[in-house]
Symmetry: C2
Subunit: 259 residues, 2 copies
Amino acid sequence: MNTSPLFVQISKDHPRYRSLVVREMMAKRVEEGIVAPTGLIAHGRGEAFDYLLGERTTENARRAEMVAVAMLLDAIRPVISVNGNTAALCSKEVVGLAEATRAKIEVNLFHRTEERVQKVCSFMEDAGAKEVLGRSPDALLPGIASDRARCTREGIYSADVVLVPLEDGDRAEALVKFGKKVIAIDLNPLSRTARAAHVTIVDEVTRAVPNMTTMVPELRRNGDRRLALLNSFDNQLNLEGAMEAMRANLSAPQSEGKE
Amino acid sequence: MNTSPLFVQISKDHPRYRSLVVREMMAKRVEEGIVAPTGLIAHGRGEAFDYLLGERTTENARRAEMVAVAMLLDAIRPVISVNGNTAALCSKEVVGLAEATRAKIEVNLFHRTEERVQKVCSFMEDAGAKEVLGRSPDALLPGIASDRARCTREGIYSADVVLVPLEDGDRAEALVKFGKKVIAIDLNPLSRTARAAHVTIVDEVTRAVPNMTTMVPELRRNGDRRLALLNSFDNQLNLEGAMEAMRANLSAPQSEGKE
């Protein structure tokens, strides 16, 4: 493949500077074998929805993040499922959240190859993860035909709560059908994943995951608050709130330069 | 880079079958050096906006396509600017439109390398283009610092009307400032390109380009119709119509499975 362009070609004055830098980083992760080529397309889809969201954590998303943290803290066997894009975008942040919530990390790839599983596991370990499951799957998630069904008995198979950042619809639905409580991070509020999950965080993953980590100490101390959050949450209303935020941005032209 | 997955792994029953096949094709074009890696991210952004548009040509977009065809037919020196994504998605369709409107084709890349320019030019020739400009740029478009400023005197530099499918904001704005009539095909109605262009077709490029070609014979015969279209068109209203269509899809959950 041709050489990816250099970071230095991107002017800091460019109105989309941050997006452009992340794009070049993601393209580099493809060359390294962490991100699947079509993972870049998924990243682009997320970018578009985040653009409509105003590239910020809405109050609505913040509430979903708090509910998700409450659910992770009350879980017996919480697991964070990590794919190539999640690793590339926020490996350290995922390790931080896993440690704070005592969740296991399991690598599960949409485009599974042995080589890429190894690479993503190592990438997460380099980011500080003490234990990463997924190298040796010994169980199958029912209801999925492909390799994505492969998981570990110690991790996703026996989990009660699974956080799936950037998940595809088939697997999210299968996890729900198999009885897991599913927390999704998904910028598309209309996606099958967003609609199948019990809690859908409509926020960009690099904002959502650190936000969640900062919420842990207070929610760990306060069981009543966790219960109140869990009892009052309605994911359908949550998704409608996200759509409303996007609709509001799809009207007046924005004053700042957008690409 | 790791091998891209096989086409056969995608089940025809998958609710997003067509998108998945196009994704794999685009990933393959990256391996071949036609599409830049970050071109996949741009493709994903387009996918998201098209999803919101309902993956169809709206009446609004059809009208913009007619206006664009009228503008190309009334042009003295029309040029279609082609980048890697446009070539990968619809090389033959672009050749068809160029022939029907007697427009020149010029290859202009965001991530310009000599090798990729050669490849995209050859790719367009393989699709039937008799003449492809862009291998030997001999002029500079004012107002752009990067290599994207490079163009040919025979083509974009001296054009009066330029069709830019999938363009970036900097270049679209520079073309307008340099006095060109600019027709953009852009699925994001909020983008700088969409707002800078004189006519913005908010439609997916593989639908828009063949649509336009079918409109040529009737509009070529009918000068009054061309004039009426050009005189009655308001791009701001056109963009607002596109946003309205997207807002309408950002409300009720859709019944069919979406990923």
